[in-house]
């Protein structure tokens, strides 16, 4: 394999600094010089991990994560990346069905979570906002995700999320899927009340949980005890 040397480090650094213009310029340059798109994706992911660390250390905030998501999307949108994606399906590490629960029309947290999941190799089906429990169930049957992600901002969504989980219990499919609840207002207690397997008030934590689930149980809920 060709040695890309300093350029690799540079790309990672640009991603880390959220320097949109230079990320795109350099990514394009590297792809045109023959870099394997999958390898480039690894580099970008490395930069994104650093962004995540800066977020954890409170050097970056949500506004910065939004920028990071946008840069990531644009890298995926480069011609050579699109070509790669169309030819060979990249090995996805899991499927996540995601939506903001009924009664709530907020989408920013959900979109950040989605962007970070995709950046981490998940395939995501996003049902949008104000999603009724029936829709979650219907799409679950069609898409057969490993993980169900329920998002909400309004404090009232604790009960709505519980209703979705209850609907999955009633339909007899609760044990077949891991459920994660996401929202700033959630606590361990609220999570137990909802009946979810995990919760996150922070998208990066949510992604970590999902990755752990996929790595320890093949995503099939083998150690599920909800």
């Amino acid at each position: 394999m060709k040695d890309w040397g300093e350029k690799e480090k540079e790309l990672i650094k640009y991603v880390e600094q959220l320097d949109e213009e230079n990320v795109l310029k350099l990514a394009d340059e590297l792809l045109n010089a023959g870099m394997d798109p999958l390898y480039l994706l690894d580099l970008v992911n490395e930069g994104m991990n650093r962004v995540g660390k800066l977020y954890e250390s409170k050097d970056y905030y949500i506004a910065d994560l939004i920028m990071a998501g946008l840069i990531f999307k644009q890298v995926l949108g480069l011609d050579k990346m699109i070509a790669q994606f169309q030819v060979g399906q990249i090995n996805k590490i899991g499927k996540v069905l995601l939506g903001t629960v009924k009664g709530d029309i907020h989408d920013i947290g959900k979109d950040i979570f989605r962007g970070m999941l995709e950046a981490n190799g998940f395939d995501v089906m996003d049902l949008g906002v104000d999603v009724p429990k029936e829709m979650f169930l219907k799409k679950y049957e069609e898409y057969a995700p490993h993980i169900l992600g329920l998002s909400g901002v309004l404090t009232t969504t604790v009960d709505t999320m519980k209703e979705v989980v209850d609907a999955f219990v009633q339909a007899g499919v609760r044990d077949k899927v891991r459920i994660i609840a996401g929202g700033n207002h959630l606590t361990a207690e609220a999570c137990r009340y909802i009946g979810a397997d995990g919760f996150a008030s922070d998208a990066s934590v949510g992604v970590k949980i999902c990755k752990e689930w996929m790595s320890c149980a093949g995503g099939q809920g083998a150690i599920h005890h909800g």
């Binding site: 905030y61 404090t155 009232t156």
Partner: protein
């Protein structure tokens, strides 16, 4: 009773130690409707039921100030075809992510914010204004008629409830405005839009925020100056930004706004949303006597840093009212009061407005409010 309660707030505002910590909580219109057992969507449309609905809140929850306050009714938003305030399927009116101004239109806004709002932004946010001049004029007239009808009705109800229950005669919502950066974010560019703009076109964001500032000052002015009537400013974006970005894009114009209102004789009542602990030194710089209701953070630190200069409120976690036992809830109130009450300059309030009935356990909320009313004497 009204006089005694008014005195509690006047003392706090004047920097004197009141007889007791004043209690100022409020419940959303949605909470009130559900508490009264009415249909959420219907009762917001048919506001004839409103008095009876609000009355039940006043009757059952202790507060020294009127505990209900609604100013967004679906009628006028619907007449305008609003995209910035929309009802969800269960009847809950919310502010979705909107883009009233495109990124390439920044220069128009900077050159003439008022014209740009009229010509570009309003038609984009309100679909019924995106038509020919005559239809648009009619839509606007209808919406304003509805607005004045609804607000007139609401204000009359508030007046009657104030009298009936003897609430304090001060007003923390006598004016309403937004921090200039929040205005640009919430109404013009959206949360996502502004977050990318501050990296892509930072100079334009800065100029747009400056251009919006005189409009935000004007919006926040009240007809008469009184130190007992505040202009409400709900703060939004600051905790989601880097400190560096905050200092450049958010703070200077916001400080200018609060200073200008203070100069005109209007104190500001800030809802300090989310966690502002990084910015306490900034908040200290605001004019003395600014009322700040905090959501999250460390009450001790806030008292220590701001307690001598500003008036502190909030911090009581509504979430605990849902999950805690009665005793835990009361203990929490005691804990917060012990920190914030010494020396005065403190108004008891929840960390956020309970938005729906299931946000809390009603018995807990009542127990806490009664506890504070009976036990928070100086």
């Amino acid at each position: 009773m009204a006089r005694e309660r008014t005195q509690l707030f006047r003392d706090v505002i004047d920097g004197n130690i009141p007889k007791r910590v004043p209690v100022c909580v409020s419940f959303s219109i949605e909470f009130a409707i559900q508490y009264a057992g009415k249909n959420l969507a219907e009762a917001q449309w048919d506001t004839g039921q409103l008095e009876e609905i609000f009355d039940q809140i006043c009757r059952d929850f202790y507060s020294d100030l009127l505990p209900v306050n609604a100013f967004r009714f679906p009628s006028f938003y619907k007449l305008l075809g609003a995209r910035n305030f929309v009802m969800s399927s269960n009847g809950f009116l919310q502010h979705p992510e909107v883009e009233g101004l495109l990124q390439e239109e920044y220069d128009d806004f900077i050159a003439s914010p008022y014209n740009c709002i009229i010509e570009k932004i309003l038609p984009r946010l309100y679909t019924e204004l995106d038509t020919d001049a005559a239809t648009r004029a009619l839509a606007l007239a209808k919406a304003f008629k509805a607005f004045h009808d609804e607000m007139g009705n609401a204000v009359m109800i508030y007046g009657r409830l104030n009298q009936k229950y003897g609430y304090a005669d001060i007003n923390l919502f006598a004016g309403f405005t937004e921090a200039p950066f929040d205005f640009v974010a919430d109404q013009l560019r959206g949360f996502k839009g502004i977050s990318t703009d501050i990296r892509r076109v930072p100079d334009k964001v800065e100029a747009a925020v400056d251009a919006a500032t005189p409009l935000m000052i004007k919006a926040g002015l009240q007809p008469f100056a009184s130190k007992y009537n505040a202009t409400f400013i709900p703060l939004h974006m600051a905790p989601f930004m880097r400190t560096k970005d905050f200092e450049r894009f958010y703070w200077p114009s916001f400080k200018k706004l609060v200073d200008a209102l203070a100069e005109a004789g209007h104190p500001s009542y800030l809802f300090v949303e989310h966690d502002w602990m990084r910015y306490l030194d900034h908040l200290y710089e605001l004019p003395a006597g600014t009322i700040m209701r905090f959501e999250y953070g460390d009450p001790k630190l806030v008292k220590e840093k701001l307690g001598d200069k500003h008036i502190i409120s909030g911090f009581y976690p509504v979430a605990l009212l849902k999950t805690g036992t009665r005793q835990q809830c009361i203990d929490k109130a005691k804990e917060i009061i012990d920190i914030l009450a010494p020396g005065g300059r403190y108004i008891f309030d929840f960390d956020k407005v309970p938005i729906t009935l299931d946000s809390l356990n009603v018995e807990n909320a009542r127990a806490v409010l009664d506890y504070v009313a009976a036990n928070a004497g100086y």
